[in-house]
């Protein structure tokens, strides 16, 4: 038995969104449930078919219990491994294993939050870090600012490069009717926006919005029985090396440098094979770090790689095609949205933002302060 045995064995047969672009006066559970309903409808299934539950929350202590009770389902297996915003990409692996071993037949991954309308700030049960808290870092931006500052120092990355990431995300968002931020945005506007933690300004930060996402997974052997073209899990891997930024070994190298190669190895693929890329862009520096660590460019060259609109619509590489956490949505944790956008691209149902000939997608989740990294490669039927 080996990790590559899981290649192509799990299929995503339903996806659903909820609460986008905003959902005033609706609770997190209500938003999540809308996404679940949409995903099950997409798959042609009912709630009673769900017997595996994979979920997470930044405000509920026992989210599987709350979610199952609210939906009226009785899962045979649940997992709520909490590694921050990447958790839902992380759920692919236990869901695939549970399906493969017959522990469940229909796995549901879901998340929802009313963070934008409900409480406006990042609400979290995150425990204070004893040896960082006395210096009053702003969580999480100070940590990402320290990483950006180090990347700029070490490689000559410029603030303009960070701004390129924000502008590219906005241009994709302008093609997505569900994106929260769709106004025109220029490099000059990003450069002039209010500094929050040097070198990160307000427009280098992800949104704080409402939103929910859900995915329905089954064993691939029955994937063709569903209404929509199945999207297959070709490879996935996680890695985490630290919790707090002061314990990160090298602030210019994330654990994506480990999760990426392992996910590519499981899938039997390389970066050059990828048609569409969805990266967890909590801050503009993330996109640059992950393009490097996942092998789309060499370490230190991420700034040059994103220049001149190269990751924007019409550029060299399609990155964050829904507008990302920067311009589409970021309801506290963004992981489900990476997967859902990839599925929509691989099905060819992404409308104005559809990438031509999209057969292989890479999703990369980030959690904590560049802490947890989870890479997943998804493909359509031609990639099996």
């Amino acid at each position: 038995m080996k990790a590559t045995d899981l290649r192509g064995k799990t299929a995503i047969v339903g996806v659903g969104l909820g609460g986008l672009p905003s959902a005033p006066n609706r609770s997190s559970m209500e938003i999540q449930t809308e996404a679940v309903h949409q995903a099950l409808t997409d798959a042609g299934l009912n709630l009673s078919d769900v017997d595996g539950l994979f979920t997470g929350s930044s405000h509920a202590f026992m989210p599987a219990l709350s979610t199952a009770e609210y939906l009226g389902i009785r899962p045979k297996i649940s997992d709520t491994t909490m590694i921050g915003g990447s958790s839902f990409v992380g759920h692919l692996l236990p869901a695939a294993m549970a399906l493969q071993y017959g522990l469940c037949d229909v796995a549901l991954i879901c998340y929802g939050s009313n963070q934008g309308s409900g409480f406006g700030k990042l609400k979290s049960m995150s425990e204070p870090q004893t040896y960082e808290a006395p210096y009053d870092p702003r969580h999480p931006i100070t940590s990402y600012a320290l990483a950006a500052a180090r990347h700029m120092h070490q490689f000559g990355t410029r603030r303009e490069d960070l701004a390129e990431v924000a502008v590219a995300a906005r241009r994709w968002a302008q093609l997505n009717p569900l994106a929260f931020a769709r106004d025109d945005l220029t490099l000059e506007q990003v450069m002039a926006s209010r500094m929050v933690n040097d070198p990160l300004s307000k427009l280098d930060c992800c949104l704080v919005t409402d939103g929910g996402g859900a995915l329905v997974l089954v064993r691939s052997e029955r994937a063709k029985d569903f209404p929509k073209p199945p999207v297959y899990m070709l490879g996935t891997a996680m890695a985490h090396w630290h919790r707090q930024i002061s314990s990160m070994p090298d602030l210019t190298v994330t654990a994506a440098a480990e999760s990426g190669p392992r996910a590519f190895a499981m899938a039997g693929l390389a970066p050059k094979d990828v048609d569409v890329v969805e990266l967890y862009d909590a801050f503009t520096i993330n996109t640059i770090l992950f393009l490097e660590d996942l092998g789309f460019c060499a370490k230190g060259e991420g700034g040059a790689f994103v220049r001149d609109g190269r990751i924007a619509p019409g550029g060299n590489l399609a990155v964050n095609t829904n507008g990302g956490g920067l311009s589409c949505c970021h309801p506290g944790m963004y992981g489900t949205f990476l997967l859902i956008e990839a599925v929509q691209q691989l099905r060819g149902e992404a409308g104005a933002r559809q990438v031509d000939n999209a057969h292989i997608a890479l999703c990369h989740g980030n959690g904590g302060v560049l802490s947890s990294q989870v890479t997943a490669l998804l493909g359509d039927a031609s990639t099996l």
Binding site: T130, R138, L146, R194, V196, D198
Partner: protein
């Protein structure tokens, strides 16, 4: 070396030293590397044989940021990551110059101050030309 599994734990021991105005670091008897933050087991080799040693108090700024804050709330302040000469990295702050004047690569030394509302706090000062 103290017994790793009895008596006050490393967090409490560190805090007691700091309250007494001393910055102490754990060093592993087995692999000889230093550990910060304080732990029960060496994070390099897993050994429980950690011995408290006075820190050299010397370090280098690994990264730095200015946390922007309104003047009426106290104004901007620095948060830095400092690589101690013994090896471990810690979050801290560099005092003695304006927050934006703290530079990556700057040599700094420990200063233990009385922080209002907090007690003893371990911060850093520029080694050269940074004022008192």
């Amino acid at each position: 070396m103290t017994n790793a599994f009895s008596g006050s734990g490393p967090d409490a021991v560190f805090a007691a030293y700091l309250a007494d105005g001393r910055f102490m670091l754990q060093q592993c008897d087995d692999c000889k590397k230093h550990v910060f933050y304080p732990r029960v087991l060496c994070s390099h080799c897993g050994s429980p044989k950690l011995t408290w040693q006075p820190a050299s108090d010397q370090g280098t700024v690994y990264s730095t940021t200015v946390v922007r804050r309104k003047p009426e709330q106290g104004g901007d302040y620095n948060v830095a990551l400092v690589d101690l000469s013994e090896g471990p990295r810690m979050m801290s702050r560099v005092d003695g110059l304006a927050p934006h004047e703290v530079m990556i690569g700057m040599d700094v030394r420990v200063k233990i101050i009385d922080e209002p509302g907090h007690g003893k706090l371990l911060v850093f000062m520029p080694t050269q030309g940074g004022g008192a």
